[in-house]
Symmetry: D4
Subunit: 234 residues, 8 copies
């Protein structure tokens, strides 16, 4: 646990771990797995677990590495489809913020799953709605009541990314759009969906990097920090 | 009128006019005004009027040039908002093909007007629906019955261009999408809408160049050629 | 078969199948295989076959997956070179529209085959013309009579995509241009052909996504819906 | 005031006004001025004022047009540096959320002003911090206490856009990054800042379109809708 | 006249004039006018006229500057439509090589004129063919005999640039393709034509910069140097 | 051998072979191997050998395919480093045109070898100069006398492609520049060299597609056609 | 003069002036004029002059604004061709670092002048060499002795930017390359030169933003700080 | 050792080795391994060792090739993580310049290691600081004293590359920024970091190619040549 006099970073040689982040931002540094060995990941997680009280996460970790790290550091939950490893997950209670993740097609599912799994581990009440692209707009319209119960909506879509505009026109709460690399040719690995979401005709949509369900979940988490601060009992 | 032995082109020095096109394609060469003087436009139009029976069009012609050409060559109709000059327009009758032009926002109106005016001059029955972008999807849904009467739908949209996908999911007939340069920043002068329309999740959408209401109208005209050929009396 | 009171979508958990599309658009939702397991594809196809009367298609399916799905769901036709799996194909009769697919080079053949196979399964009368690029323009000119019998022409070309402009100058019916990723360097994986086709000097050409023979076939199919509506008995 | 039986849109011919948006989203449709005449703007504003109870805004309106519209429709407040015209602005009270707008340089000021002015009109408590780019990082660090009082932070920066990452590392609440077209050459009219913000190493940053202070303000406003819903008295 | 001991460059302070180029390359340095004052242009031309025997050229010079320079330095020929000023032009004789310039549309004319005028001043026998784009391919085919008399063909085309491939398939001699900035939207100011020409399916086409009729003429001129060397009396 | 009444193309089903090209252009169609099976290549080569008198070439053919084709069709020469297969190569005699291929670095060697091997097979007298990039400009300057004996120079360079400008400043004959995909990062797979060569400050440089030693050789060949036509005995 | 207890920044409302920079970096913040009024520039300069001992600079200031600011704040030197305004310039003495600015063409002169003028004001011994592009490489080679006397070389070039590679191969000291927006078409407003310089085959070249003679001068200045620190008497 | 009459290059057939570079630039040509066989590398290194007195380096050499070359040519030091092979490394003494390499994240480590290893082999005193990205700015601020001891700072960062601006605001000496290909989506393989660094708001930052730790080290080395020249005993 980081107290007032605790060091703000721990130098492991190959990494300088920011052990002050939970205090500043309510969540420990999340370990991004690509380019790190299981041993390096393990050392960073150990440092983070010792220095914080809340959840510790490893994102974008592939199966074999996840197994190796989880075996070395007991207590991990592995969300394989979200490529996520988590220790000390929070549990949603009746005061939890409601995060709804909406995905346009079945190919967008892995990114949507990452957004949902990270949000769940952080203690939010998550709802997932899959495969409601605008080619059959009635699929989305049939789910408007469920959408309107959300405190925050994460929209995940590739190709032309039109779902973000359609959803943002139907809800009043924050909409975080995640473009995905689904599609081919002129979809340009997600760039088209990214630009389309940034150019949305629906006002107030914000956008994160291509395929980054993780960033959307963290953006939603930041929103929950603001919501909780403003509650009478927050 | 071009007969069997008529020359296929007329060399005016600064231009070689294709006077065989009405025979091949059912419509005379359309004169693209930018870069030509009123005198050059007049000479080409005169040649085309002499060599054909049907409509003769000048596209993208600005006000002053249009006035000058129209004065020199009587019989012209000037559609100022569509930047179009036409001689010998056809009139839609009860067998006319129904072309519906749908535009996302008021800024897309000039491009939509060009598509509509050219279609009208070519003898099609044109319906225009404006300002039905997906940010308020009910505006589009309220007009589905009108949409479904069309034989061909031209969708005009800038920004993220999502309207094309939404419309194509609601009708069974050909959808020609026209991206517009409406918007700023990540809209990239219409490139984002262009790429989004090419990546549409609604199957069978075709796309034309940015701001080219003219090309969409000509594409619709080609469709009418096919429709008429297949009629018992066509 | 979908009746008036039938549900408009079926939720399979991993997918929400739009079972209303045949009613709206005359063709069931086409299953895009990439990113789906054979079991998922099988479940969706089963749902579609139960809810519709007409053809059911799976596009872009690779050999092994195709074999596995076809074995589980009898009645499938497999067009390997077009990566297409189809159930209940229609048969072209004397009222069928004529779809002509023209390809510039032998490398463009797979894309052309997809356009042709999908069109065939949907009941159209398909003609294929291969390897008539503009480097030897006489190859195209020798085939003009065949071209002019078409109701719609699909032009498939990579590299500089010049064939679309040349063909569109020779026929009066709709020309749907499909850029392919053939070529190297400045061909930019089909982007150059895409942009060239969008900038065609031949009026009324429409364009679909890179390598998407499928979209071109669906665009041609939309035309048939318009033709049939306008027939006395349509 | 829009009641249960009120129409959802009003067709003015040149525009279809969505008069249902305040009910759905807590704010009337905002009028985007470019491409509209003062008369058209006036007609839309009149329609919106009649159909809603809350604020009505016109964004990106230039001086002369603003003067003309304001004269015709009394009660307008004109924020010239933010190119904003507003009727019936809300006033921030003690329950207002705190929106802090941080700008990197003096050239980013107009965009920051738009974000601040729109937020102010919508009734939020706005703080502005200008000219704290990372080239002199102490300028930012000296203002951390002020930053940490915010409920949401809007970061406005051009050139390399590094300020967004630095700020997001210092606060726990939502950070909405607005890239600006400040800079030259490799800044590519704001594209570099846009891409840099999307690639931020600070987790949970969301991004809006280039120069769109307006979108950032609306994104902040969506957050307030979520906060209010979760209040006991919300 | 530059002899063996002559200096290879003359330093004018604002410019270092390469007075050795006629000896090395058979043609004096051509003065590129943009960014230079008439006085600077005059000083450079004076230096070049003194140091060489053959033609001296100023390219891309606008009307007023051309008039001023021509008045100060008698003997100039001004080709206004080609933005060219020339002293001591050569005259084509019976041994002159035949340069044929072919342009796709009337908008490509200024670039074609530059190629033709520069070639003419350098003493080549120039033929111009205008407005023979592939939308009406018969216009080109009717001119094949004239094309086949050329020693080198310069093809000038914008939009999709297809004319270069078509011409190169019809002649055996060098084809230098000049993309032009004609067109809009997806033509991207000549980039699409440039990439299309580089990706030509016709073998052996070479390409120069957008709108650079000048470079094409110089490339043709280099060919004449090779031809003359190989003549018995060359 | 193609006579006056010979067919101009032979339809093999999967390919339409242009057997008229030797007559039109002095060289049979060159077979581009990628995407064709050895059997298809063999059938096309057989057709070409039967219909022409001169060399027949297959370009970009990989080792195994080359071995298989060469075994089936005796008489082939295989230039493995140039990925070229040739039948009936011409032999350079004392009237042969001199083609000099200059390469900037050792990584550019394969592309330079393709240009040289194709030129050699077509009967030209080829000289190769390797590894003379501008980082050590004396290496190039030491070879100026050899360079100046060339009738045509092909310059092959990746990275920043500066060698083309340097060489073109030293010779008076045609310079064909070939950008290569050598380099990394900002070299963008050859795009930077391509753009740099197109923007060369040395007048009259022409450019071909990235890595296309083949196109450069064919461009050089076209030059030789022009040179020979103009010889007294040509 | 800023002492130990001096404030590190001064808040002028519209700007937060970093008055600590001379202490940290040996040079006061340079005022970038675009987007600031003459009054704002004057206020910032006044603040900087009061807080520092050394030179104060305003960059990219146009003529009228420069005149107005210089009149209000006496002591300014105006370098009009470099768009630079300076107070308290340093004078080069015998220990001054030698900065040589080399420009490829006369169009690159304004950028080269900015680099030279800023370097001069900062007290360095500046040499300028103009118009020595690689099209006539002897112009550069004739100046090698002068080049080799430099401590730092700034190379300014547009179009293909080849001069940077050539110079860097001839000197052992730091080379800072400045791409310029000189050229047209494929020069892409300086992007081609930028990418070419980043891809230089000459080792150790560093690059700054397009047209930024200012940045190059500041980079050279940083180099002089390092050189002076390491002198025995430094 | 290269004396006055020594040849300036050695032609190995496949390569022309510049053996004059140590004399001109104080360091032998560095061998770039990609695309060369171990035997070719060995031959070039042998040539370089014979012709020079100082260090000889091979960059970007993979493990197996390094082992093979090192075995054939004794005396090599292999820096595996930097992909570097070196003979006759220099040793830093008390006059050595201080090169500090700062990296933003653990994924940037290999590029940082290349910069550090090359600098070390060239005899500089190297300090490495890893994992101090701006998301936790205190990690950087804690190391300012170490940073300020450097003579030159190499900043290595991917994603948004913000570290370069932050560091350059804290030191007065040269800052060479190396963008890395770390990140995904909108990071565009390092392009975003590259553009961001070029657009830095901190004055005087210079930039090298993506992932090129090598170029940064050579740029630092050039600085040492300038420093040594200016020393009394230099």
């Amino acid at each position: 646990m980081a107290g007032g006099d605790a060091p703000r970073s721990v130098d492991l040689g190959f990494a300088v771990v920011d052990v002050d982040r939970e205090r500043r931002q309510g969540l420990a540094e999340v370990v991004y797995a690509p380019g790190k060995t299981p041993a390096q990941i393990g050392a960073i997680v150990t440092t983070l677990l010792a220095a914080h009280d809340g959840p510790v996460l490893v994102s974008r970790i592939e199966g074999d590495a996840a197994t190796e790290v989880a075996r070395a550091l007991p207590g991990a939950t592995h969300h394989a489809d979200a490529r996520l490893l988590a220790w000390r997950p929070r549990v949603a209670d009746e005061t939890a913020i409601r995060v709804t993740v909406v995905a346009a097609g079945t190919s967008d599912r892995p990114v949507a799953r990452e957004a949902a799994a990270v949000s769940g581990v952080l203690g939010h009440a998550v709802t997932e709605i899959h495969d409601v692209g605008v080619a059959g707009i009635h699929r989305l319209l049939d789910r408007v009541p469920r959408l309107q119960q959300a405190d925050v909506v994460v929209v995940v879509a590739g190709m032309e990314g039109a779902l973000a505009s359609a959803v943002a026109g139907l809800v009043e709460v924050p909409v975080v759009a995640v473009p995905t690399s689904t599609g081919y040719g002129a979809a340009f690995e997600g760039v088209t969906a990214l630009l389309a979401m940034l150019s949305s005709c629906s006002a107030g949509v914000t956008v994160v990097n291509i395929d980054s369900g993780f960033t959307a979940a963290l953006a939603a988490h930041r929103l929950t920090r603001a919501i909780r601060r403003r509650r009478p009992s927050g």
